[in-house]
């Protein structure tokens, strides 16, 4: 069976690199499975597990990402993963905080930021839980 080259990189480090037979990714419009010679595709991905099936290995490789972008070419897949916990709302709060820091008024983090942070962290935690659940199912 033919394979494709999979690379998962984040701004801070390279996470995974290798050949794969099949890959499942949490795309923004729903989970998608990709075999080699897939039609070229650029999609955003949601926080969740990437499942990579490697030839000759019974166990799938599991990589949890907190969102990002995926490029699919017929024989190669590149996943540009986010490392930090992201979210529109949280980014907004971070921006506000940076502005405040510039004005040297940053006495303490605002409650809004805490809420946004908690919400984004929750999303991330849910993604990780999904991954764990999937792993557990596979074991039994």
């Amino acid at each position: 069976m033919s394979t494709m080259h999979v690379e998962v990189v984040s701004a801070e480090a390279q996470i995974y690199s290798g050949e794969a037979e099949f890959l499942v990714a949490p795309a923004e419009m729903g989970e998608i499975g990709i075999y080699p010679r897939h039609v070229p595709l650029l999609t955003r991905i949601k926080p969740g597990p990437l499942r990579i099936r490697v030839a000759g290995q019974a166990q799938e490789v599991l990589v949890v990402v907190s969102g990002g972008m995926m490029e699919v070419q017929p024989n190669a897949i590149t996943v540009l993963a986010d490392t930090a916990i992201r979210g529109e709302e949280l980014d907004e709060q971070r921006a506000l905080e940076a502005k405040k820091a510039a004005e040297a008024e940053l006495a303490k983090a605002s409650d809004d930021k805490d809420v946004a942070q908690a919400r984004a962290a929750l999303k991330q935690a849910i993604a990780e839980l999904h991954a764990l659940e999937y792993l557990r199912k596979r074991v039994h």
């Binding site: 701004a11 801070e12 650029l42 930090a84 980014d91 905080e97 510039a102």
Partner: protein
């Protein structure tokens, strides 16, 4: 015998200083290795995202997006100034700041206004002292570059660009060339120069986009800018540690020289005292 007590105290104090500079040198050496490693690790992402964008530019020659289109009338420019949080690292910050002020001055001469985004304490303080317009800042970045801390200030600048409050975005930082050499550098981030993405590809194909092409481009450009800034911060940190290591080595060597001269003076004074005393004794004995 109480000869040259002042000199002995001075030697002691220089020795203490030397101990400190030597310790700082060793700390900087070990940190430098780590920061260099981090700088290297950030590279694959920047390369990949550049590749993806080049593919995109290849297949869609007629894409138009505010991030890519140069504006004719530049009234206000955003400059991201990356510096270190701490001093005692030779001329590193001085060089970066000189580069920054030169650039700011040449822009102001053209009647362009400037918004500053300061990453790092030193740059923040310097810009503040000159009463420049600081719109965003992040200080106390530590020794590890963290995307988390950079997202805020970066998104302030990107938003300002998208809303037309600034017409271009530049970045000034220290590029790490090798341990002995760091160079202040300034680059234009926005609008993106298309030639930066030009690469030769044997294939070209039409992509499917999810959810749609414009949001994909926007996402990619944002991540690209963030990764460039992250990389620059990582380079700046490696430069800082390297510069500090070199500066502290020089300081330790200088301290050794000072100690040597002081010891020489001390010994001379001691011998002179002994000689004087001897001749006094001899003269006294002769008189009896």
């Amino acid at each position: 015998m109480a000869v040259g007590k002042e000199i002995r105290t001075k030697i002691k104090s220089v020795q203490n200083t030397q101990k400190i500079t030597r310790a700082m040198q060793m700390v900087a050496t070990s940190k430098m290795r780590k920061t260099q490693e981090r700088m290297r690790q950030a590279r694959p992402y920047a390369e990949k995202i550049r590749e993806v964008m080049a593919h995109l530019a290849e297949t869609n020659t007629d894409i138009s997006h505010p991030f890519l289109d140069a504006r004719d009338d530049v009234k206000r420019v955003g400059i991201i100034l990356i510096s270190s949080d701490k001093g005692l690292c030779g001329g590193l910050n001085a060089n970066v700041l000189r580069q920054f002020f030169n650039e700011a001055q040449s822009l102001m001469d053209k009647g362009v206004e400037i918004d500053v985004c300061a990453l790092g304490q030193k740059g923040y303080t310097a810009a503040q002292r000159l009463k420049m317009n600081i719109v965003a800042s992040a200080t106390h970045l530590g020794d590890t570059p963290q995307m988390d801390k950079l997202i805020g200030p970066v998104s302030v600048m990107l938003k300002a660009y998208q809303e037309g409050r600034i017409d271009a975005l530049h970045i000034v930082y220290s590029k790490f060339i090798n341990t002995m050499k760091q160079e202040p550098k300034s680059e234009q981030l926005l609008p993106l120069k298309p030639e930066e993405l030009e690469q030769e590809y044997p294939y070209s194909w039409e992509y499917l986009y999810e959810p749609d092409i414009s949001s994909v481009i926007e996402f990619l450009v944002k991540r690209y800018i963030e990764s460039v800034i992250y990389q620059s911060v990582a380079e700046n940190m490696a430069s800082e540690q390297a510069a500090r290591m070199v500066a502290m080595k020089a300081a330790t060597d200088n301290a050794a020289n000072v100690i040597e001269t002081l010891k020489l003076t001390y010994n001379k004074a001691r011998q002179a005292a002994i000689t004087t005393e001897l001749s006094e004794i001899v003269a006294g004995a002769a008189a009896v």
